[in-house]
Amino acid sequence: MAITKSDVKVLGMWPSPFVMRARISLNLKSVDYEFLQETFGSKSQLLLQSNPVYKKVPVLIHGDKPICESLVIVEYIDEVWASGPSILPCDPYDRATARFWAAYVSEKWYPSLKGIGAAQEEEAKKAAVEQVEEGLALLEEAYEKSSKGKDFFGGDEIGYLDIAFGCFLGWLRVIEKLNGVKLLDQTKTPGLVNWADKFCAHTAVKDVMPETDKLAEIAKILAAKLRGAAAPPK
């Protein structure tokens, strides 16, 4: 029985890099899905029902089964649509390496990236930028080892770590623009510069990667909200 579009739904929001991970994975596997967007500031009944633990996007709904947490979703997509291109490498050691760096990017590197935007003074911003650059140097090394001369961490085709890390490129570019910093630098991380261009141009990615200008608008709205929330009530 053919899977109809309504069999696969993604609950999400277009600016979210975590939601992007799910969409890129489905695109890679040529799976049709319905993208149900949540509105900023409110959570739909469907979201609350399908992710009662965290109440967050993304949620993948396959038939009537919800799957939550972006990297869990990516692995699920890879296993269910096994006939499509592989997202995780075949070799167990390569899989462990890809998972290791995906965890690092999600738990350490991305928070340090957000730290640049959150920094109030110049000193703090400088320190945050240094932290992000240290991380990028490590990822450049990981890229050299993993790509083995090809374009992607996954080799000829984008894979798990490309998706786990590449989803943050939109926000990286916004942070570069709004803070007047250059994080991905041809002189320091030439491999990643090349990788970033190829990743964003990939057919599975280009339609779901938000434009930098649109994301910058969202960033400004969020920053204003945070400042408003921090200000004492009148």
Partner: protein, 218 residues
């Protein structure tokens, strides 16, 4: 060619215990090397340069770290015996989801419960108990998290139960009173050799906690 498996470990670490249990379940022979975390070995620093933490598995010279990633590696390499993850993709996704939840909402809070004091500790305790209640709800009336068979989520959670006594004394609460089904599940797991031989006695953990408290003035 025989496999050479080395585990860099630290006896009170619940993350290390996860790996001990998995290796035991699969009947894998390995060399256990005890690390002194106050004086990390050159081998540990070489094998895990980024995080410099245990557990690290060195399989035929190649290092793997991060306990949840390690468990999946062990399950994939030694796939022909005692599988930890189920075979159905949806069941696997649920096991991964709950393993991640246990790290984010239970282990991370447990680490703080015994260190903190006063109001801060009360708040951490409350969150910790909520986490335990949620995971107890997921267990339901099943013998194990995976159903009839001991599996991935059981391996991920059970090591923390060796620390329960320490949490209870330091936090002045009873986990059995809050989550009786979970404590029943822990007892059931302890009937397995792989678990009982991998977990230190709770009193030993408590003695270790007292040492740390004295050392760091906590």
């Amino acid at each position: 060619m025989e496999d050479k498996v080395v585990l860099l470990d630290f006896w009170p670490s619940s993350y290390g215990m996860r790996v001990r249990i998995a290796l035991a379940e699969k009947g894998i022979k390995y060399e256990a090397r005890e690390e002194n975390l106050a004086d990390k070995s050159p081998l540990l620093l070489e094998m895990n340069p980024l995080h410099k933490m245990i557990p690290v598995l060195i399989h035929n010279g190649k290092p793997i770290s991060e306990s949840l990633i390690l468990l999946q590696y062990i399950d994939e390499v030694w796939h022909h015996t005692s599988p930890l993850l189920p075979s159905d993709p949806y069941q696997r996704s649920q096991a991964r989801f709950w393993a991640d939840y246990i790290d984010k909402k239970i282990y991370s809070l447990g680490k703080r419960v015994w260190k903190e004091k006063g109001e801060k500790q009360e708040a951490t305790k409350k969150e910790f108990i909520e986490g335990l209640r949620t995971i107890e709800g997921e267990l339901g009336d099943k013998p194990y998290f995976g159903g009839e068979d001991f599996g991935f989520v059981d391996v991920v959670l059970v090591p923390l139960t060796s620390w329960f006594y320490s949490f209870e004394i330091c936090g002045n609460f009873s986990i059995e009173a809050e989550c009786p089904k979970l404590v029943g599940w822990a007892r059931r797991c302890m009937e397995r050799d792989s678990v009982s031989k991998s977990l230190p006695h709770p009193q030993k953990i408590y003695a270790f906690v007292l040492e740390l408290k004295q050392k760091y003035g906590l």
